[in-house]
Symmetry: C2
Subunit: 339 residues, 2 copies
DNA sequence: CACATCAACAAAAACGTTTTTGGGATTGGG
DNA sequence: CCCAATCCCAAAAACGTTTTTGTTGATGTG
């Protein structure tokens, strides 16, 4: 294999200086259109691929974005976040360097240090589910955007799902189908989603003039087993709910099992809607589970775009903290209430 | 924020030349232990973080490994592969730059090109499920290891799951529990897993002197619905199987549903074992699904370690194509056959 | 016509390391 | 006591770009 072609070779082949080649390809400097085009053609022809290490060294822009997340393995969401981030990065001629902490702050610090050594231009600090975070000290010197995470730092941009809105959307769907007695299978963890979704549940009821009934609300771990037990309790009530809104798909799966045990058919006897749109589950359940999707892909995109804007520091570079809307994904688990 | 401390500052502070600092920190050159230690301490004290762009430029080693995968979003396995790769990379002082093709070869080529521009030292070319691949031309010049993918190139290392072994392990578990009439809910796609697992099924039967009975084998798409239908057919037979070995967990979920519909209780009336160990599903099913785990984390580790060995090109750098064993994860879906 | 302005390019410096080459002190052998 | 070898370190070159500074010829201006 021949020696790699560098900017010098291109310059020689095009009969210009390396300066001119650099300017021609980057769009900078004062170069006549004719020369610029010629250089580009020559570079193309030689299959010239610039050395980003060298260009980053001089220009102080590595075009690498660091992506640090807490856990990438236990959830299938991670992939979509990463995908959104990657697509947006590619559009900006950037590439992602990813690092995982496994919730271990030592590993996290080491990972961040590695990213800094590689002179990433900025960092996406991501969590795999919406939570409040404290920013590691190592991130103080570098542009950072929070993803699925919130902090008290108003100088940092962040994006999280609109938990309350998600719950309202889910409830609106049930209410529009005619349900009035709607149970809520809630979560017990102390995380933003717990508060937000419950708030959304209450707000939706209030909006429709339905009184909040504590006996229709449960709290459990967000897993299938506990969800099943909680659902069974609600369904055992004399005047049982005609619909259940579930904190997430795992709990909803438990609700399916509880319905089955109680001899209820979904959606004829009981409607169910949930949050997560965890496809492997929602599609596999019988009937398919109508669920609110968390906008992972979109959050990934947004974070990168925000970071790019802040790096470019144009006018609109003021930090933003946004809540992203969550769309409803229709399947077959909702119907009108039994009369 | 003060100017970033470079190797010069360290040299000045330690009262030596930059050469000496470089050698002290990298372990190269002829430096007395005393000086080496002193330099290290000073560097530590100044919080010196070497610029990898610069060091890579000169040394031709970026310490970046490219990770290109076909689809990262639709499967939860991706995370574990990435995690294994990352852990191994961190141990080698390397970091991962990841790129996703979404099964689009144009995007893939662009991604690989980006990696090459950043001068990655090597590339892990990964698929999210075991399949035969054709290597993109862009990879011809760079050390590459195949992950969950096989090709006809014997000059490349690769790692895939031992499909046949996995099936044999699953079958051994059922056979040891006493089952003799074991159905196989197979897959229909033309992929290595289809052939390997069926072969393992047959081999295990043969080993135990049980005749292969075609009427106990089905082929279907590997999704819950088709799996349910296939299972129902097997269970409707006059002399129905006492156990089912499923191509994957989704089909197994279908088998659960079929069992339920047929009024059979798992594992009392029917035992089920499967392949994938897709935790969100296997744990959520009632009873828990005994399943063979695909060694994603381990394959990720292995690929990086192999690549590192080939990059170091020590003695043992001859390419290897290996099949990784798949462990059985016990849950509650297997019991003795009904008498 | 003298001078400033400008467009289009080139030469040289710079980025922060690693590697190559050089060189002075110490040691050891004859 | 002289020379070679060895040990420890420093000076300088090199990596492949981008940025800064220069240069040249053309164009306008009073």
């Amino acid at each position: 294999m021949s020696k790699r072609v560098g900017i010098r070779e291109v310059a020689a082949a095009a009969g210009v200086s390396v300066t001119t080649v650099s300017h021609s390809l980057s769009g900078g400097g004062q170069i006549s259109d004719a020369t610029r085009e010629r250089v580009k053609t020559v570079a193309e022809g030689l299959n010239y691929a610039p050395n980003r290490l060298a260009s980053g060294l001089r220009s102080k822009r590595s075009q690498i974005i660091g992506f640090v997340s807490d856990e990438i393995s236990t959830t299938p969401y991670a992939g979509n976040v990463l995908l959104g981030a990657q697509d947006a990065a590619a559009a900006n001629d950037q590439v992602l360097m990813v690092v995982n902490s496994n919730r271990n702050s030592t590993i996290e610090d080491r990972g961040i240090d590695a990213l800094l050594q590689h002179r990433v231009d900025g960092i996406i600090y991501a969590r795999m589910y919406h939570q409040a975070v404290e920013l590691p000290a190592a991130l103080s010197g570098i542009p950072t955007v929070l993803l699925d995470a919130s902090s008290d730092r108003t100088d940092l941009s962040s994006v999280v799902p609109d938990e309350e809105g998600a719950a309202r959307t889910a409830m609106a769907h049930l209410l529009e189908a005619g349900h009035r007695r709607i149970g809520y299978l809630g979560n017990i963890d102390d995380i933003p989603a717990t508060r937000g979704r419950l708030a959304g549940y209450r707000a939706a009821l209030a909006e429709h003039g339905i009184a909040f009934d504590e006996s229709l609300v449960t709290e459990s771990e967000s897993m299938t087993g506990p969800g099943r037990d909680a659902a069974s309790r609600l369904l055992a009530q004399p005047e049982r709910p005609t619909a259940l809104f579930c904190f997430n798909d795992r709990i909803a799966m438990g609700a399916y099992q509880a319905a089955h045990l109680a001899g209820l058919e979904i959606p004829r006897d009981l409607s169910i809607v949930s949050i997560d749109n965890f496809e492997v589950l929602a599609d596999a359940l019988l009937p398919g589970l109508t669920s609110i999707a968390l906008p992972h892909y979109e959050m990934g995109r947004w974070a990168i775009e925000r970071l790019a804007a802040e790096l470019a520091d144009d006018a609109d570079s003021a930090p933003q903290q946004i809540q992203m809307p969550c769309p409803l994904v229709l399947r077959q688990s909702v119907g009108p209430p039994p009369r």
